[in-house]
């Protein structure tokens, strides 16, 4: 990939489309690193009362706004379709009903404008959210994707081959945040709320378990932690008294953050790399960011974390990945399908 970057001299504009879950996103990115527009139509307000994403609702909302979002991305970028070189769209993994809307739109764009279509993996796109802001990153790093739907570790070698080395065996980290927030009636999405409350709390209030910390592999597990909190708060009701909630949240968060940071740093040691790229919605968590930067300094490892707006699902990362696929000439035909799961 480093060699491919050298070759390209022409300015390349990629339209990215992302509809894998509940955010309808479109973005125009120049040369894989200049974000000309980044539009996100969030459905948080709609799913809030259900405490989580309702797939059918998500799909209905995507179809209502897909053309508006894409149009907005183009208008804000100041680039019209004549200059767009390719359209890049997430086709896996995700909610099928949601993915179909974005991929259908992308196919129509590719057909009408006679431009190549690139179908990308959502998780791989998250890794590229760091490359958007740091295009000189070389292969040979550990990638951690941590979000509401995923908690996975990857080793990316010097040739940019990506291999999964660990994943959650049950809940994703963001999912655990959402479930605990719902259990404690704190609201949705749980991550930002628990993060905010934790700042006023004592992280040593409860010594929660650190699941799979010594498992000897790079997998994660968060549902046991969630169960532990629920069990303890049912047994000791004072733990959920209003004044104790920030400390309860801080203790819970400390456990999650420690497991994520320590296992990721260990992975970097095992694979002999000095760069770690963090991405996904939970990468917006202030404690996670702080701990990774601290542990990175201690271990002489460089930590890359995107700005907050690139941690959430977005189409700029999709366009960035699409740019590198475009340079390689790796396009997809218009018969590409969508998949709820996939390896990277």
């Amino acid at each position: 990939m480093d060699a491919i970057r050298e070759k390209s001299k022409k300015e390349i504009y990629i339209l990215g489309i992302e509809t894998s879950c509940d955010d309808t996103c479109a973005s125009v990115v120049k040369n894989g690193s200049v974000i000309l527009s980044n539009v996100v139509s969030s459905q948080n307000e709609i799913h809030r009362k259900y405490g989580g994403v309702v797939p059918e609702i998500a799909s209905r909302k995507h179809i209502e706004v897909i053309d508006i979002v894409i149009n907005e991305a183009l208008e804000r970028s100041g680039i019209n379709f004549d200059k767009i070189d390719a359209v890049s769209v997430t086709n896996r993994p995700g909610l099928i009903g949601s993915l179909l809307v974005g991929v259908g739109a992308a196919k129509a764009i590719s057909y009408s404008k006679n431009i190549p279509l690139v179908a990308v993996n959502h998780l791989k796109a998250h890794i590229y959210s760091n490359i958007l802001k740091n295009p000189d990153i070389k292969g040979g790093f550990i990638g951690l994707i941590v979000s509401g739907g995923h908690s996975s570790l990857y080793f990316v070698d010097s040739d940019w081959n990506i291999k999964e080395i660990g994943h959650t065996v049950d809940d994703a980290a963001g999912e655990a945040y959402d479930k605990i927030a719902r259990y404690l009636s704190l609201g949705y999405p749980g991550g930002p709320i628990i993060d905010r409350l934790s700042k006023r709390g004592d992280p040593y209030y409860i010594d929660f378990p650190k699941p799979m910390m010594d498992s000897g592999d790079f997998n994660f597990s968060f549902s046991g932690l969630k169960t532990s909190l629920i069990y303890r708060t049912k047994k000791y009701k004072k733990l959920t008294a209003g004044k104790n909630i920030p400390s309860l949240a801080a203790s819970f968060q400390k456990s999650i953050v420690e497991v994520l940071t320590e296992k990721t740093i260990k992975a970097a040691g095992k694979f002999g790399v000095k760069n770690i790229l963090i991405s996904g919605g939970v990468a917006a968590n202030s404690k996670l960011r702080e701990e990774f930067l601290r542990k990175g300094r201690e271990n002489n490892i460089k930590i890359f974390i995107p700005p907050l707006y690139l941690c959430m699902d977005n189409a700029a990362m999709v366009a960035c990945l699409g740019y590198y696929r475009y340079l390689e000439g790796r396009f997809d035909d218009l018969e590409v399908d969508v998949y709820s799961r996939s390896d990277i």
């Binding site: 179809i63 259908g104 739109a105 969508v338």
Partner: protein
């Protein structure tokens, strides 16, 4: 006027291209799990068989349901974007309208005979919309319409034409209540359409639509016991060329194209909340 329509709302995916009311080409596939895979190649084939390109299309149409949610959205997403990029209007056509047209075309001889004898003919497309419910509406046929009338389409043969007009609203009912409802609406040989002032004495009512698949026996029993009703079992799938006809007449009547959104029969209640 060249029209291209997609129907992806059932297990049968189809794309049709018309020039006005004349069909130029139609492609289809019956693998419902592969609509996303097949949709663009069927569209490309339909255009090339019609010897047209996407730039030659003046009007787009798409079946907006009710039907399969996922399938419908595939067609709506593609047509929404194509019509926007090509700068041409797109009409979202209700499934019931498409079935009404299909039933009418298949029974044009019967319809013509009845209307010549001044026997009113009503079309009743009836859809299985799951959860034990069916969804239907009534359409009548007239040989003339008033200026500005919102007729659905015009069909005809041998120099004689009829306009299809929707009467009243769409009706959602439990399948076990359908028979009593229909008998009630046709008491004493007079069809009284709800929410509508219309009444028809001794009509012939043609039932069709995908209800014929899952509720065929129930509908056969209704038709056998109440001679006003006639069942056409061979109209279980919507046909894309009929979509084109509906879109064509929308364009002719200069109907304003609206934002394409699928039709849902019920309000969504997640988790039974």
């Amino acid at each position: 006027m060249n029209i291209l329509s997609i129907d992806s709302s059932t297990g049968r995916l189809s794309v049709a291209v018309n020039q006005n009311e004349k069909l130029l080409s139609e492609t289809s596939d019956y693998n419902s799990m592969k609509h996303m895979v097949n949709i663009m190649s069927l569209l490309g084939q339909a255009l090339s068989r019609a010897r047209l390109t996407i730039k030659d299309i003046d009007v787009f149409g798409v079946n907006v349901g009710p039907g399969d949610f996922t399938g419908t959205r595939i067609g709506v997403s593609v047509i929404k974007i194509l019509s926007w990029l090509e700068g041409k209007p797109a009409f979202g056509i209700d499934s019931l309208d498409i079935f009404a047209l299909g039933i009418s075309y298949r029974n044009i001889s019967f319809i013509t005979r009845c209307l010549k004898k001044n026997i009113p003919v009503l079309i009743m497309p009836c859809l299985d919309v799951r959860k034990g419910e069916v969804y239907f509406a009534f359409y009548n046929l007239t040989s003339e319409v008033d200026r500005g009338s919102k007729y659905l389409a015009r069909i005809g043969t041998g120099g004689r034409h009829y306009f299809i007009n929707k009467e009243g609203k769409n009706i959602l009912v439990r399948n076990c209540d359908l028979k009593d409802l229909l008998n009630g609406l046709t008491a004493n040989g007079v069809l009284k359409i709800p929410d509508c002032g219309s009444g028809y004495r001794n009509p012939e009512i043609l039932i069709g639509g995908n209800c014929c698949i899952n509720y065929g026996k129930m509908l056969s029993d209704i038709a056998r016991q109440n001679k006003i009703f006639n069942l056409d079992k061979k109209t279980a799938y919507p046909i894309a060329r009929h979509l084109n006809i509906c879109a064509y007449f929308n364009a002719v009547r200069k109907v304003k194209a609206k934002n394409l959104i699928p039709v849902y029969v019920r309000k969504l209640v997640p988790f039974g909340s």
